[in-house]
């Protein structure tokens, strides 16, 4: 038993190192001078820490603006997905109607349509609506996502039907059943869902790249790309400092909510 535990811990520890290494590298390099970055030392920790990279980033770019742009788009995506997923999942779980399961699986199938297939039609639509360079243009196409409905329906299916029936006998309407009985029982799943949507939207790179051309409307991932120079001479120190700043809010958010996220994915029976 003890040997088995040791073995498991050894595996977990090595996985931890693998996943922490790039993160440590990022943070480490952000505090190094340009000279130290290229001296070939593999020590991730800076010899003599400097904040000049951060100073450079803060000074040169409207970081707050990009942060707000991203926040706007990510909140919009999260908000829409959250509301739609809750209502759709409730319908798919507790209403009986013809073709319900067929519709649900059809809906799920949309998860299997790759982004690259949707990219052009979505772009045409957004440009037709005059949403290019707006938060709506960034958010609406991302909000068409069946994952939330799937996860919440899984959660609702674990709630005994009799609970809903008891509420019906208690003269509760569907809104009361949803908000007073169902959702309080799904708090962890709802929290996890919010975080997942938010992080995905926050990190989304490709779609904003297509619909945002105005630099003032850039989101953080687009901003990061500005540090990559195709002709070489990428400012690695500054780029890592920017990356650290961009991922900081998410890491803090995740720290507080990881319990919910892990629980939800364990219960849904799929891997995140």
């Amino acid at each position: 038993m003890r040997a088995k535990l040791f073995f498991i811990h050894a595996i977990l520890l090595s996985l931890l190192i693998f996943s922490l290494l790039p993160l440590t590298w990022m943070v480490g390099v952000s505090f190094k001078t340009a000279k130290e970055i290229f001296t070939g030392s593999v020590n991730p920790l800076p010899h003599r820490p400097t904040v000049e990279n951060y100073a450079l980033v803060m000074e040169r770019s409207p970081l707050i603006l990009y942060f707000l742009n991203t926040l706007k788009a990510a909140s919009l995506v999260t908000g829409i997905l959250f509301v739609v997923s809750i209502f759709a999942a409730y319908g798919f779980s507790f209403f009986r109607f013809m073709g319900r399961d067929f519709l649900f699986y059809l809906f799920l199938l949309s998860l299997f349509v790759p982004f690259h297939v949707r990219m052009i039609p979505n772009y045409l639509l957004v440009s037709e609506l005059d949403w290019v360079n707006t938060p709506w243009g960034i958010a609406i196409p991302q909000a068409a996502n069946a994952l939330g409905v799937f996860l919440l329906r899984q959660g609702m299916k674990t709630i005994p039907r009799s609970l809903v029936e008891a509420a019906l006998v208690d003269r509760a309407g569907h809104f009361e059943i949803l908000f007073r009985v169902i959702l309080p029982l799904l708090k962890p799943a709802l929290a996890a869902l919010c975080i997942t949507f938010f992080v995905n939207a926050w990190n989304e790179y490709y779609w904003p790249l297509l619909v945002v051309s105005d630099k003032a409307k850039y989101t953080l991932p687009l901003f990061l790309r500005m540090y990559v120079s195709e002709e070489g001479g990428t400012a690695w120190g500054a780029m890592m400092a920017a990356s650290t700043l961009v991922s900081l809010p998410l890491m803090v958010l995740y720290l507080f909510t990881q319990r919910f996220i892990i629980e939800t994915y364990l219960k849904s029976g799929i891997k995140g």
Binding site: P160, E165, L168, V169, L185
Partner: protein
């Protein structure tokens, strides 16, 4: 709360692939303890859910009191319900569970608090007020579920196998309490169970359902002593009624083919069966209506049998014979002993093997009454 009656008129319930209820006609009088008894899939729970409004009938009419309720949603009906799994809201405390329905029904806050206090005191669970369902034992949950239903003071209380999740000792206690509560409050109670002992203990009236068909309605005594068909006869009683195929010769004798023995029927039975042509019949006799003797007795036709096994139940014994089980009070007979079996003939039943219906009805209920009273057996027949 004043009780309301319930009436089903030709109610049919069909799901996509099967018929759960076939043309049910049923009347439940106001204030009765009414038990719906049946195996799983018999339609008993469907019937209850139709009363609650959790299902809509495919055809037919359902009345609560004078009101036709076919389309009425559950919340608008004058019912309260106890679910099999209790269905307590897990995130609410006991008192919040009770308050939820009252609030939705627009009961003023002060009155609601008063009623909650009263019900919790009545069921002696005041100290559980602020606990959540997961902090309660099975018996406590059952009480809270009952409290949540009673606090609504609805004229009709529906219970779906409410005791099936309790252990045997608690079940007996809860059963008694339920009867007491009903006697005190006088609502109409509809109780679904598959347990025939529970059904007989609780029901003032009961209905037996089988495969969506109502087999018989009556008092427990009527159903036990005058089953209309083989299904009802076999359902009630533990151990169940002995049912043996015999050959009727049309002249007053029945032949037990297994025992290769001819028994002359008492005259009363001969008169009931005489218009019936010679054919196989099913003889039904309850274990307690079987008597064992060491020697055949004058005037009481008896069948030679052999003891196959004995179960000691403490107050009495079950003696297993070749085809019969007898329930006797006196000392057991040794294994392998050859004995004579006789029946309390007025309590014997004959069923037509094709229709499975009792043959007593063929001559009308009145003749049965006289038959029974002649023999000195008095019990009510509907």
């Amino acid at each position: 709360m004043s009780a309301l009656g319930i009436r089903f008129v030709k109610v049919m319930k069909r799901y996509a692939t099967y018929v759960a209820l076939q043309g049910l006609d049923l009347e439940i009088e106001p204030g009765t303890r009414f038990v719906l008894l049946g195996h799983s899939g018999s339609g008993k729970t469907t019937t209850l859910r139709l009363i609650a409004g959790l299902e809509e009938p495919t055809s037919g009419e359902i009345f609560l009191g004078e009101q036709k309720v076919n389309q009425l949603p559950p919340g608008e009906r004058e019912i309260a319900m106890v679910f099999q799994d209790y269905a307590l809201y897990p995130h609410m405390t006991v008192e919040e569970n009770l308050r939820f329905g009252l609030k939705r029904r627009g009961v003023p806050r002060e009155e609601a608090e008063q009623r909650i206090g009263k019900v919790l005191r009545m069921l002696e669970i005041e100290e559980l007020r602020r606990r959540r369902p997961r902090e309660l034992s099975g018996g406590q949950r059952q009480r809270v579920a009952l409290a949540r239903a009673l606090v609504k003071e609805a004229p009709i209380l529906l219970l779906d196998e409410p005791l099936s999740n309790l252990d045997a000792r608690l079940r007996l206690q809860a059963r008694r309490e339920l009867i007491e509560l009903h006697e005190r409050l006088g609502f109409t109670m509809v109780y679904v169970t598959h347990d025939q002992v529970e059904a007989m203990a609780i029901g003032e009236k009961m209905a037996i359902l089988e495969r969506g068909v109502l087999e018989q309605v009556g008092t427990p005594q009527e159903l036990y002593h005058a089953p209309r068909n083989l299904t009802v006869a076999k359902f009630l009683g533990s151990p169940p009624m002995n049912c043996i195929t015999v050959q009727w010769d049309g002249r007053g004798n029945i032949f037990f083919s297994e025992a290769q023995f001819l028994v002359a029927l008492p005259e009363d039975w001969t008169r009931v069966l005489e218009h019936f042509p010679p054919s196989p019949l099913i003889l039904g006799v309850r274990p307690e209506d079987c008597f064992l003797h060491h020697l055949p007795r004058e005037g009481n036709p008896a069948l030679p049998v052999r003891v196959k096994g004995i179960e000691d139940l403490g107050a009495e014994f079950l003696v297993h014979l070749d085809q019969f089980t007898a329930r006797v009070k006196d000392l057991p007979y040794p294994f392998g002993e050859e004995l004579f079996l006789s029946f309390a003939w007025p309590k014997v039943h004959f069923f037509d093997p094709r229709t499975e219906r009792t043959l007593r009805e063929e001559k009308g209920e009145s003749s049965i009454h006289s038959l029974l009273s002649q023999a000195g057996w008095a019990f009510p027949l509907g």
